[in-house]
Assembly symmetry: C2
Homo-oligomer: 352 residues x 2
């Protein structure tokens, strides 16, 4: 392994000069710079990041922790596209800042271990909701900067970024009520502990209340944030009721998609017999037949913002924690019963 000493020796300068050439860009002549750079190229020297990180207290890596749904039981194909987009966004923001992103998926069981292992390798951590038990999150946050993504910032005094779930679902549900005249609705939730799902249910309830309909105490059924989760939730819903509701609001797109085949095999048609909506606007939803009416949230931007907040936090450790809420937007397609798509989307800004 070639080191800075070797480079210095071969260039006839000290290691300090080599280091300066590689960094600031001052304190040496052009001739020296060229000589050093030539040696570097010749030797193929790559400065050791650990050594650099050790002295500068900054490794140029941010971590992204997310829950691995696929691993924890459900089918492979159910893996959340949502996370992929967030990863992409995080990568983009980090690269733009000269950093890189370290990713790790937590199982319920291994979360704590993994988080600590990550923490030792990064300058800070972006933690997606439900990747970590609350106590582990709190513990980690004491030793490394953390920003929370998509929920649950409540108890912890941390930076956080999320989408306006509540306003989005409220707008969407209102559309179902006002534009389509539905009065018999149901909400099928994601995992009980997912803050996203909870907020979306609240938006749903807001809309019902605003329309003078009874306020449901809890979601009608629930499941994972996955296709099979949606399948199960829909089965449970149909089994529980004598007649199907006029419209079903799902906590996310994948659940809505998963429910489709259950609906069909129950002899029902979407949207004629039952309107169906999702949340996220994953790319698949647009291609579906009927195309899925849903709420789009800026998944990639979520990842970007989270990393930006984190980098800012790293540079300013004692700044007041901030909370960023990105707007969502309803996307009207066919599955709600709409036929024409003019003026189809509109932004849902909440007052949360």
């Amino acid at each position: 392994m070639v080191t800075i000493y070797e480079v210095a020796r071969r260039s006839g300068v000290s290691t300090a000069t080599v280091s300066r050439v590689m960094r600031d860009g001052r304190g040496f002549s052009a001739a020296t710079r060229d000589r050093v750079l030539a040696t570097v190229g010749e030797l193929g020297w790559v400065p050791n990041g650990s050594a650099r990180g050790l002295v500068s207290k900054r490794v140029g890596i941010v971590g992204l922790l997310f829950p691995d749904l696929a691993k924890s039981g459900d089918a492979e194909e159910d893996s959340p596209l949502y996370v992929d987009q967030v990863i992409r966004g995080a990568e983009r923001a980090a690269t733009a800042a000269g950093d890189a992103v370290l990713i790790a998926a937590t199982l319920r069981s291994s979360g704590r271990q993994l988080a600590y292992s990550l923490a030792s390798k990064v300058d800070g951590l972006v933690v997606l909701a439900s990747s970590l038990a609350d106590e582990d999150l709190a513990s980690i946050a004491r030793s490394v900067p953390v920003v929370l993504l998509a929920g649950g910032a409540a108890g912890h005094n941390l930076d956080s970024v999320g989408a306006d779930n509540r306003a989005g679902t409220r707008e969407l549900t209102s559309h179902l009520i006002q534009a389509h005249g539905h009065r018999d609705l149901a909400f099928l939730s994601g995992p009980a502990d997912a803050p996203d799902s909870v907020e979306r249910f609240e938006g749903y309830r807001d809309a019902l209340v605003a329309a003078g309909l009874p306020s449901p105490p809890a979601p009608d059924a629930g499941g994972g944030f996955t296709e099979t989760g949606g399948e199960r939730a829909m089965k449970a819903l149909l089994a529980r009721r004598e007649s199907p509701p006029q419209a079903v609001v799902f906590a996310n797109d994948q659940m809505a998609i998963g429910s489709m085949k259950v609906i069909r095999s129950a002899g029902l048609r979407v949207p004629a017999d039952m309107a169906v909506t999702g949340f996220d606007d994953i790319s698949l939803s647009r291609h579906l037949r009927p195309a899925l009416t849903t709420v789009s949230q800026p998944m990639r931007e979520l990842g970007e913002q989270a990393v930006r907040l984190l980098l800012d936090r790293i540079d300013h450790p004692r700044r007041q924690p901030r909370s960023v809420v990105l707007p969502t937007e309803i996307v009207i397609r066919r599955s709600c019963g709409c036929r024409r798509l003019a003026g189809a989307t509109r932004q849902a800004r909440g007052a949360t």
Copy 2:
């Protein structure tokens, strides 16, 4: 920032003992261990990864370099799901081995810089085809272990993993010819420099030749590996010919999907007027109407294998480079004209 010295002092032991407790698990009494662990918990100490990496010559991080198609021009939504799956696979294999994955997307322009920046932070690199110019790849590979993913291992003497593109496309094309009796086919390629695309075209040609049809010198048209790429390629194809071909073999799913609307607006129906096939079997393809006949390749496994090869290489620097080819499998759905799905898939093992 709390260090091992602080932990040692508070526990009344030396740093050596703290280190031993955190690592091997020998050379200290149970009482000492408990005392140290208690202090660690109390202080929330996380060992500094840089310091550790500096002495142990191993940071426990592997890098994954991939091309960012979205960034480099085409629309956002065209981003390759394929890569996301590879990332997940890599993450899984790395986590299983106690490592983590650092990801970075290269633009054409910034590739070299980025690769070096990554190289300084990792123990090794998985490089996806077309993330790096050939010369940069060679240069990087001299200073850090590299395994190549999905192509182009030819010139470089590196470990590599890929899917059996050629056999997959051959089987699929043969199906079009034999089962459906098509004799007028077209192939629409991905980026000209993508080894995957080239191999798929070769498989296509193999099948034509095997059926006694003329061997085309080159793809009928091409584009990026994206929806808009498919759109453009299909437009070019239709513009160039008097009548549409009976079947079109695309270099990947996203292109096939992108072409659908062009086909429809040309007044053609899939598969009645034109059969269409893809490659990859992204999750979207199953949900399409008509569902897309395609070749599935184990994207996640590709990522897993690549990381495993890499970790192996890191442990054994002078082992002979290996090349792993994973089998592909044709997935018969509706877009080729098939109506019944019995015995729908079969593995395509090549002799490559």
